[in-house]
Symmetry: C2
Subunit: 524 residues, 2 copies
């Protein structure tokens, strides 16, 4: 397809960026700039970068960098089914789970869009039957609770989305719970509170070989057998897996829904992995709204101009902060309690995608790639780690998220302002406090300011805006990976730990230090 792959430090615009003077936020952050620096994200969201130290010259160089690294062309190639996951020689098709934007993607007569749509329809239809009571538990009770057994991408994204939407609906159709950790105290805490006869489990593992998930499957089996022996477990468990997995087409499951190797775990929330639990919790039609929002953001991310493309701008401004100004840490700060676990999902999305040290062509890189990501909801974080953000010695890229309206119907006005307005007054105040700082006679009361932030905001956290938020970060991470010339879609860094764990459980670790730690921890 004629795509050119080169390292960031081989581009001309990178050299230009290194020489441009850095504007002072204390000086540039004006009313006009707050209005002007907004780009639509899709799904009703907007991206505002007024409080980033990016002026016209820097923007122009970043736009040039987007062209030099062919970011839009590479995104288009990915959409069209190019095997952008080079290490594993795989296509990258998560965008296709929410709609078609490129050419038809086919392989041996198998159309992938049709496949993903079919799974979604099967899931919606199954969910409807559960909600109507046509499908019941094996002892005749309606299902009231759904428990996802999965880890990593089969846990973090679906869980973050479930928590984000819980307040949007007055009541979930099925309450969702999650078992992820191989620590049996995790499963025990969930199982102890359940009415097993009205509980439906979903076993989620693309490969069908995930140690934690299979261990928890058996733990749950044993628990049900001993606590509720009259239950027919096969009628209480679904599988979400790939067609090639040992779990596929098994009679152990009431029903199986499918994904494939072209959906990475951390990108699977809009596939059957997220669709099953979220459709059971809120309904298939409601999950379709999440997909529409994500698709809308995916479409916006195709905008060729840097100035109209929020994901592209967010990505490149992040690269500017990271590689020119040496910001190596990113804090995600949602002023929305519903997004309480969204930063944990972003940790996986970003750090597993872009925590890489070799280029796409497998040469060690001379520059920093993906940042460490952490975050907690505001205003809670203000009373926790913001001290360091304001007056510490580290440089942190701040990404705020805010909404104008509540999800739930509870608020009260005190002293002329609702709680929501107080929340957002805090958010506005923080952006400006970080940017402008404050001089004081006492050095410990001085705020140096000039600490950059950006803001993603919308009217309300709805299924559509949530889908757009999810896709925005996926696309941002993708564009950053292209810019750094890395493969954002494999995760070879998780293999060594798995291998050494197997050695321990095989009883013969090669490394003496490993044996020593295993003994210390009661394994050998």
């Amino acid at each position: 397809m004629g795509l050119k792959f080169q390292n960031l430090d081989a581009t001309e615009s990178f050299a230009v960026l290194n020489k441009l003077p850095v504007p002072s936020l204390r000086e540039i952050l004006t009313t006009e700039r707050v209005s002007a620096c907004t780009i639509p994200v899709g799904g009703g969201l907007s991206f505002n970068y007024a409080a980033l130290p990016v002026d016209n010259k820097i923007s122009a160089a970043l736009a040039e960098l987007a062209d030099e690294q062919q970011l839009i062309e590479k995104y288009r190639a990915l959409l069209d089914g190019e095997r952008m996951n080079t290490g594993e020689n795989r296509m990258v098709l998560h965008h296709l789970t929410r709609g078609q934007l490129g050419n038809a993607v086919e392989e041996n007569g198998h159309n992938f869009r049709t496949f993903y749509e079919t799974q979604l329809e099967r899931i919606a239809s199954f969910s409807n039957k559960v909600h109507e009571g046509t499908i019941k538990g094996s002892t005749g009770k309606n299902f009231t609770t759904v428990v996802q057994i999965g880890i990593g991408g089969s846990d973090l994204g679906p869980r973050a989305l479930y928590l984000a939407l819980q307040g949007y609906y007055s009541k979930a159709k099925l309450e969702a719970r999650f078992i992820s950790n191989v620590d049996p105290d995790d499963a025990a805490a969930v199982l102890e509170g359940l009415d097993l006869e009205s509980t439906l489990f979903i076993l989620v593992s693309k490969s069908g070989t995930t140690q934690e998930t299979l261990t928890n499957q058996k733990l749950v089996h044993n628990y049900i057998s001993s606590h509720a022996p009259k239950i027919d477990i096969r009628r209480h468990m679904l599988a979400v897996t790939s067609a090639a997995s040992p779990l596929a087409d098994s009679e152990d499951f009431l029903e199986s829904f499918y994904i494939d190797d072209y959906i990475g775990g951390r990108y699977s929330s809009t596939s059957a992995v997220g669709a099953t639990i979220l459709s059971l919790a809120f309904g298939g039609d409601e999950f379709a709204r999440v997909l529409r929002g994500a698709h809308d953001a995916d479409r916006h991310a195709l905008e060729p101009s840097f100035y109209d493309n929020a994901a592209l701008a967010d990505a490149l401004m992040g690269v500017y902060l990271g590689n020119i100004l040496e910001y190596r840490i990113s804090a995600v700060l949602p002023y929305s309690q519903a997004l309480v676990r969204f930063p944990a999902h972003l940790q996986q999305l970003d750090m597993e995608s872009n925590g890489k040290r070799v280029s796409r062509s497998e040469e060690p890189l001379n520059y920093h790639t993906g940042p460490v990501v952490f975050g907690e909801p505001g205003t809670n974080g203000q009373h926790s780690f913001y001290q360091l953000l304001h007056q510490g010695t580290e440089q942190i890229n701040l990404q705020f998220i805010g909404f104008l309206k509540n999800q739930r119907n509870l608020d009260s006005v005190q002293d002329g302002f609702s709680s929501r307005q107080k929340l957002n007054a805090n958010l506005a105040a923080q952006i400006v406090a970080f940017a402008k700082g404050k001089q004081d006679e006492q050095p410990n009361k001085t705020f140096p300011g000039n600490r950059p932030s950006s803001l993603l905001y919308g009217d309300e956290l709805t299924p559509e805006s949530l889908g757009a938020l999810l896709a925005h970060f996926e696309n941002k991470v993708m564009f950053q990976g292209f810019t750094w010339n890395i493969n954002s879609f494999d995760q070879e860094g998780v293999q060594l730990g798995k291998m050494l764990t197997k050695e321990v459980l095989g009883g013969e670790p090669q490394d003496a230090g490993l044996s020593a730690y295993a003994r210390l921890l009661g394994v050998l």
Copy 2:
């Protein structure tokens, strides 16, 4: 008291440390080292630093640094009531909430140990009456749920401890919930599920002026008035505050318990702030076990020798990694689902204490201070951000935590190993994978290794070991603050945001950018 305060870079040992060669973990991590490098923490916990790049020469220099910076002497002075919180001219007395280690601390005939003990006794007695049913709700129902309304230190520590102990007891005496965020969706989510007639609220604010907490107090009042008007709210709400607060001695509360200005919010879990909710949840005698574990760790932290003092060693090895080897980020990785929110507590503890840029004598520092702290339980994190830890371009100080036994009575053996053993096999494997790495023909499958970690471990997560864990980190943070010559006990960096929020809610922000953001977010 003849204490000498000097900056880290003014010490001789810092210059020595800068010149010492850094040992390679790939070479030094032997069976012998795993056995040898263990220091008792107290409360049944141990600290193992075999996988830190610290050899005899570096240890000797760190021991010398401890002497030069008078770390034990400063801790002793703090215990004896020296006003170590210089900026606010306050004593630092959280150790005294769990026992006496130094001289009696008195002021105008007021003995602080007696004061803290009295509050604990009052709380235990009150809790007993609630458990016995002597104290009931205003409509005659027994209390079954307790809701803490507080933010920051009044939320994170108590919440982390509650979650950590929930599995240790087959059933909590009262189920605990938490309302913290000024986002009304937080309070709504908690309130919607409650039987208000059997719910006891605890309003926690030392100053009695915390915006979020007072806003949520009124929100809860309004909610109860409209949803359960027959409830006498005053008989359903306690206060935990200081004697000087506007909340003190108010008839709005069934009972008030007291703290004082010498207990910082992030250090308040062992004061009335944590005691009230945890004694109500698990019993006063059980909370006393947490205090005993913490006190034991406090005592161990007085060991004069660096080689016998886990908190001191952990602190100084962290300074070595941070200031000599440039590790600016710390990941806390508990292989224990019960510690799911413990990293969030440590974020506040560490980042609010040591995220400072000026010295104790208020001069800007030329070196880095407190790290960014983040973390999630293992093995979950392995399927999320460990990719970056193994193969990313950032340097991260890893702090593992593990236990030999489960809390809950559920496990199952598969293929010869229990889930707990699989969990710990993963933990052992990760330590060695990070330290030793792995060469591979393919660069994307190569692990550079030499990535340091330490391990806190114990037999089981009990009230005692949890208390010790809490105190260990408090003492580590304290010793690091002394080493950097900063004041770890104030938090002036939270003030500017509060001030600008007030300007917005007062309707007249001075800064035009602030007005613009406030309008964008629907406040003005």
